[in-house]
C-alpha cells in the first residue's frame, strides 16, 4: 500500500526510470517540483519506479542536480550561470524540452530565458536550423521583410 508522502524525518526518495532504461533516485520533495512526476506518483504510488519515456539518461541527472539545489533554496544567479556554462545550444534545447515534458516550471522558465539569451543576436538562418524550421517565404517576400526590418539586422553575430 503506497504511503502518502507525509512529513517524515527521513527523506523519502523516488525512483525514476529514463527512456533508455536507467534508474535515478530523487528526493520526494524535489519530485514534487516536477508536476508530471507528481501526477504519475499520484496514479501509481511512490513505491514504484516511475517511468519517464521521454527523458533520457543524458538529461535527467542534470535536471535532478537543479532540483536538488532548489529544495535547499540555494539556486542563485551564479549557480544558474554555472549550470548552463558548459552546455551547447543543442544540449540546452534538449533540457528545455525535457523540463517541459516533466512540467518542471522553474527550470523551464530559466531555460526559456537562457535559450532566448543565446539566440538574441543570432542570424535568422541559425535560428531556422536550431528549431528545424523551413523558410517558406519566397525570395521576394523575404527581401521585403528584411528591408522593413533593416535596423534590426545590424550587429548580428557571425554563425559559427
Amino acid at each position: 500500500m503506497a504511503q502518502e508522502a507525509s512529513s517524515s524525518t527521513s527523506s523519502k526518495t523516488i525512483s525514476l526510470k529514463t527512456g533508455d532504461g536507467e534508474i535515478f533516485e530523487i528526493e520526494a520533495s524535489a519530485a514534487k517540483q516536477m508536476k508530471t512526476v507528481q501526477r504519475l506518483i499520484d496514479d501509481l504510488g511512490d513505491d514504484i519506479t516511475i517511468p519517464l519515456h521521454n527523458v533520457f539518461s543524458k538529461e535527467l541527472p542534470k535536471i535532478i542536480e537543479y532540483y536538488k539545489k532548489d529544495i535547499t533554496g540555494e539556486i542563485t544567479k551564479d549557480f544558474e550561470a554555472e549550470f548552463v556554462k558548459d552546455l551547447n545550444d543543442d544540449e540546452v534545447k534538449v533540457l528545455f524540452l525535457a523540463a517541459n515534458y516533466l512540467d518542471a516550471n522553474k527550470l523551464f522558465e530559466f531555460l526559456s530565458q537562457n535559450i532566448a539569451d543565446r539566440l538574441e543576436s543570432k542570424s535568422v538562418e541559425y535560428v531556422r536550423k536550431y528549431f528545424g524550421v523551413e523558410n517558406d517565404f519566397t525570395p521576394e517576400e523575404e527581401s521585403k521583410l528584411r528591408e522593413e526590418r533593416a535596423w534590426s539586422f545590424r550587429g548580428i553575430k557571425e554563425d559559427e
Partner: protein
C-alpha cells in the same frame, strides 16, 4: 502501469517536422493528433516557441518575424504575450531626430543600452508636434497635417484633420490608446489670436475617436491674457495642457495648467476656472503620462531672471496639487551646458528622458528606483554649431497598427 503506446523520439533534427497546434497536456507523455496518431511531446510546439520568444528583446523579436510564416503569425498574433510577468517590464525607447532636414533618426533602447538607426517613412523635417501612446505615435506638422504611425513596423496612416485647424497660431496634440481595443482618442488644443484684440485668444479643443473616425469640437472659449501652446497630454481620460500668459491683465505667474475631461460627457466649467497653478517659475515645461499620473518636467526659473534656470525639477500632480519628486543633481545639470539652454523631456511608464536641444546627450531618470543615468552615447555627433536635436519617447510594440 502497462503502457500500450509506442514513443517516437524526435531529438534528431532530421526527423523533426512542422507541427499542428497541440492542446495542453492532460495525460502525461501522450497526445493524439487529428489523425489519431500518437505524437511525441519533445517537439517545439507553437506554445513552447511562444515562451522562448517572450524573453527576446524587441530587436530580436522583430527579426524573428522573418524566420518563417508560422513565426510571423506567432509574433504578430493577438495571443502572443511578449514579456512574461517574471521578467522586468520593457522600458520605453527614445527616438532622437538627428537632422532637421532628413527623415532619419536614432532610436535608443534603454533595456539593451543600444542605438538603432530607424527611418520614419514620411517625415520631411524634424519640426513636428508629437504625441505617443502604447506603441503608436502621432505627428502633426505646422500645416496641421496629421499622421499616425508605428515607428517599429513603419506602418503609417494619414489622418483627416479637424476643420479649421490650419488657421491657428498654436496647436497642441495629445493622444491616448485603449490597451484592450487598440482604439484611440486624439485631442488638439488650438489657440488663435483674436484679430484686433491682441490679448484675446480663441481656444478650441478638438477630439477625434478612431472608432468613429470623426472629429468633434466639444469646447471653444475665449481666454484673455492667456493662450495654449504646444504642450499637452492625456492621463486617465483627462486632457492637460499648459497655457502661457500673454499680458494685458494682471497675473502673478506666467504659466498655468488646464485640465479638461475628454472621456466623460459631463460638461465642464470654463477653462479659465480650471486653471491649476504651476509650482514655480517655469521654463521648457513638458507634460507626460507616467502610468496615468501627470508628470511635469521643467526648468526652475530664477525669480528675478525667469529665463535663467537654477535647476531642473520633476513634479507629479495629485488632483490639483503638485508634489516635487526630484531635482536634477548638479553634476547632471552641468552636463547640459549653459543654464539657459533649452531642453526637452519626454517619458512613459517609469522612465523620463531629458535631452538638451544643443547636443545629442540624453539623460534618463527612473521614477521607480529614483535613479539618474546617462544613456549610452548616441552614435550621432553634432555637425555644425547651431544644429538642434529633439526627440520623443515611445513604447516599441510590434502588434499595434495605426
Amino acid at each position: 502501469m502497462a503502457d500500450e503506446t509506442s514513443w517516437i523520439s524526435h531529438y534528431d533534427d532530421d526527423t523533426r517536422k512542422e507541427t499542428q497546434d497541440i492542446d495542453s497536456l492532460s495525460e502525461p507523455g501522450e497526445e493524439v493528433d487529428k489523425d489519431g496518431t500518437v505524437i511525441s511531446l519533445d517537439i517545439m510546439t507553437d506554445d513552447l516557441l511562444d515562451r522562448i520568444l517572450a524573453y527576446l528583446p524587441v530587436e530580436s523579436i522583430f527579426r524573428a518575424s522573418s524566420v518563417s510564416k508560422r513565426w510571423f503569425s506567432i509574433v504578430t498574433s493577438e495571443s502572443f504575450s511578449w514579456n512574461p510577468s517574471n521578467s522586468p517590464p520593457q522600458k520605453p525607447w527614445y527616438f532622437m531626430f538627428t537632422s532637421s532636414d532628413e527623415p532619419t533618426g536614432c532610436a535608443y533602447d534603454p533595456n539593451l543600452r543600444k542605438w538603432y538607426c530607424i527611418e520614419l517613412p514620411f517625415i520631411g523635417t524634424s519640426n513636428w508636434i508629437i504625441s505617443s501612446s502604447y506603441g503608436l505615435v502621432c505627428f502633426m506638422d505646422s500645416s496641421r497635417v496629421l499622421y499616425m504611425c508605428n515607428p517599429i513596423t513603419k506602418r503609417c496612416k494619414k489622418l483627416q484633420e479637424p476643420y479649421g485647424l490650419r488657421f491657428s497660431d498654436y496647436g497642441a496634440l495629445a493622444m491616448s490608446v485603449d490597451k484592450e481595443s487598440h482604439s484611440y482618442i486624439l485631442a488638439i488644443v488650438k489657440s488663435k489670436q483674436v484679430p484686433e484684440n491682441f490679448s484675446q485668444w480663441d481656444i478650441s479643443i478638438h477630439v477625434y475617436k478612431s472608432e468613429e473616425e470623426t472629429w468633434a469640437t466639444p469646447l471653444t472659449e475665449v481666454l484673455i491674457g492667456w493662450r495654449g501652446g504646444e504642450e499637452s497630454v492625456i492621463c486617465n481620460g483627462v486632457l492637460y495642457f499648459l497655457v502661457y500668459f500673454t499680458g494685458g491683465v494682471p497675473s502673478e505667474s506666467r504659466h498655468a495648467l488646464v485640465a479638461y475631461n475628454v472621456s466623460g460627457r459631463a460638461s465642464q466649467a470654463s477653462l479659465r476656472r480650471s486653471f491649476i497653478s504651476v509650482p514655480c517659475s517655469l521654463t521648457c515645461g513638458r507634460l507626460m503620462n507616467m502610468k496615468e499620473k501627470l508628470v511635469m518636467v521643467g526648468g526652475i526659473g530664477k525669480h528675478d531672471r525667469p529665463d535663467i534656470i537654477k535647476g531642473i525639477g520633476i513634479w507629479v500632480l495629485h488632483d490639483r496639487k503638485w508634489e516635487e519628486i526630484v531635482r536634477m543633481p548638479h553634476k547632471y545639470f552641468q552636463g547640459f551646458g549653459e543654464f539657459d539652454e533649452v531642453f526637452a523631456s519626454s517619458g512613459k511608464d517609469d522612465l523620463i528622458y531629458i535631452q538638451s536641444y544643443g547636443s545629442p546627450a540624453l539623460l534618463t531618470f527612473d521614477m521607480k528606483v529614483k535613479q539618474w543615468k546617462w544613456s549610452q552615447k548616441c552614435p550621432v555627433t553634432k555637425r555644425f554649431p547651431l544644429q538642434l536635436f529633439s526627440g520623443f519617447c515611445f513604447e516599441p510594440r510590434l502588434k499595434i497598427a495605426p
